[in-house]
Symmetry: none
Subunit: 402 residues, 2 copies
């Protein structure tokens, strides 16, 4: 977003709700996509009176990870702002990151005589790894004045954050992965790629050595490999860019983390769709913009569980009237990317969008499906334009030019 | 294409076939476009189960030449890479160009007392010009150690290539046209526009003088005008950019030449559609990507021969099942630009696209026509995105971002 855009932004009392059904879009199995198979009377009725279309998260043919998928629908160009693997891992495990931090993804590994025998330490169970991670945290609290934060993930995976005493320069995390990606080789040393990253590499090296000492008696998990050294990107905040006080409502820490990167408030919420919507109702007077993240639709897609994905979409459909009762000025319903059960993974396919707002044509789509949204007034368009459309429809964008 | 894209490319064993029906798109005459008038049961059946849409070769309202038309569908931005007129002429006449070469388009002209009387030497017949061109080639084989290659075109047109002993710097062909574009004026001297082009201009001047000597006894064609001094552009190859070993199958040298600019293999093929498809079948195990160029549809369009264009489309339709029998993972059927009989020329109109692939919605278009493709899931999109879509559908693109 450029300055010309920010100059058009004006504030008012309107409310914008963006519901992100994670991994919404699908592909036909036996002729019908997940959305086509789902019985969604409320979404269909809404589609009939709304602007519809499909958004392209990053670019044609490009399958987005969760980071770029969300940046796009938050109004940022996902090719301009990149979120490193370490940062995403740390966010996903609930670590709140600052501009003093370098985050890495860690693997427990098995090393003998300086050679990697197993890059995943025999895929040790999460419970066992959790104990090791607590041990590491107890033994290694800081290195050279840098606070070290460990957080256990699934199985052999964990996140580490080095929290420096002062904000870091922009390219301070330019350090190579220490995982050579092959067994039978020695682990790599963390090497700085520039002057700013020298200190980071030095602390990382000491961290690896200290961890090896702590883990020396372990059979399998006696070494840590570090990957994806990264810092939080400098993204202009939602409030700066769009003049919106924004609240993220998400069960999973990663999505709250992504929202925090653009400056949304991200209180923890527990439960599922019902509890998220309860929270939305409760907070509706306190913010301008609400990002409501519904996760499980993507999870069923990743599992290739067609019926599960269909049922989760139907479940959301039942809660939709509660959102409509709030009468938001603009309601967007979309996904961050497609996750077709056919592919069991994220995909590049455009994602259906409903933009329910006072100033639309409507009457183009008979239901909320990929094929019906093709007929909509929004066409097929880059995800980053959803937010300007929401601002326009809520009277938050002034005229451009005289 | 930027580095971020190349980093996503991965190789596998899939096959991609791109059929380019040159000048495919049309406009209605008596209510029907050429595609609408043609009986194409096989293309129609394929359109019904495929992703469809229309591509914009260069930009809205921009009519592409053959160079930019092909660069776009080859996945390159035609505004970023430009192919000079001399290069295109030389490629069209079957000269294989290297980075040591400067190519020009030549005209035979009539000059008396230093003044141009006829810029086309009375449009002398090709046979007569052919003899002159052979004479020039026999008399002028090199100038100052630079090899000179002549190749006859149609009527008064020919191509000249100066092949230097070593690779040239990028802007070495910055030399003005010697054709003043008006009769009654003297021909212009070739002038260098920068330091790198000084040597090229000098050789060109000697070339013109030597040619004038050789042609001094000719009544009409006693002079050569040179235009479109150009070098082959530095285009990253298909293999570098997309990880594809690519074969071009084209009867006409110009299209093989264009394919060679992006590093495709370009063996000569003789015949027509049948022989091209025979060749495709024969080579199907040896490459990842196949560009099959079908020329005559454009030629009939240029002639304004509606029935001829319709029949040629119908002829291709009969051969389509032979391509489908090969079961390519991705099959693209499109054109490089439109050539409506109504206009008797290339045009700016979006070009219908079929993307037949495993991961599509399908079911949006009832036949393969401009108007039915408007309903398709690809929408109206820049030509340069066809290739990323083909790569995605063949599992050749990794996920972007974490």
């Amino acid at each position: 977003m450029k300055q010309w855009f920010e100059e058009l932004v004006q504030r008012n009392e309107t409310k914008i709700v963006m519901v992100v059904l994670d991994g919404l879009g699908g592909l036909p199995i036996n002729g019908k996509t997940e959305l086509e198979a789902a019985s969604t009377p409320n979404l269909d009725a809404l589609a009939r009176i709304s602007a519809t279309g499909l958004h392209i998260p990053v670019s044609y043919g490009i399958t987005p990870g969760s980071g770029p998928g969300h940046l796009g629908i938050f109004g940022y160009d996902p090719l301009e702002y990149q979120i490193g693997r370490g940062v995403l891992e740390a966010l996903g495990l609930g670590i709140e990151l600052k501009n003093t931090d370098v985050a890495m993804r860690g693997n427990y590994a098995t090393v003998k005589d300086g050679i990697i025998q197993d890059r995943r330490a025999g895929r040790i169970p999460t419970e066992e790894a959790q104990m090791l991670t607590e041990m590491l945290q107890n033994e290694i609290r800081s290195i050279d004045g840098v606070e070290i934060i460990f957080r256990q993930g699934m199985e052999y995976r964990f996140a580490v954050v080095m929290r420096f005493p002062e904000p870091l320069k922009e390219d301070s995390a330019m350090v190579n992965d220490t995982d050579p990606q092959k067994i039978g080789k020695p682990p790599l040393k963390p090497q700085p790629m520039n002057e700013n990253s020298e200190r980071v590499a030095k602390v990382a090296e000491k961290l690896i050595n200290r961890a090896s000492e702590v883990l020396r008696n372990q059979q399998r998990a006696n070494y840590v490999l570090l990957r994806g050294f990264s810092q939080v990107p400098h993204i202009p905040s939602f409030e700066e860019n769009f003049g919106l006080r924004a609240l993220a409502i998400a069960i999973y820490p990663m999505y709250r983390g992504l929202a925090s990167l653009v400056g949304m408030d991200t209180p923890a919420v527990e439960g599922d769709i019902k509890e998220e919507i309860d929270f939305l109702v409760q907070k509706f007077n306190d913010y301008d913009f609400f990002f409501v993240h519904i996760k499980k639709i993507d999870s069923f897609g990743e599992d290739g569980n067609f019926d599960g994905k269909v049922k989760k979409i139907e479940e959301f459909d039942k809660y939709l009237p509660r959102i409509l009762e709030l009468k938001p000025n603009v309601l967007i319903i979309t996904g961050d990317h497609s996750t077709p059960c056919l592919l069991k993974s994220h995909s590049w396919h455009p994602v259906p969008v409903i933009l329910h707002a006072p100033y639309v044509l409507g009457g183009t789509s008979s239901s909320f499906t990929e094929r019906e949204c093709l007929k909509g007034e929004l066409g097929i368009f880059p995800a980053k334009y959803i937010l300007p459309l929401a601002l326009a429809n809520s009277g938050r964008l002034k005229k451009y030019g005289a």
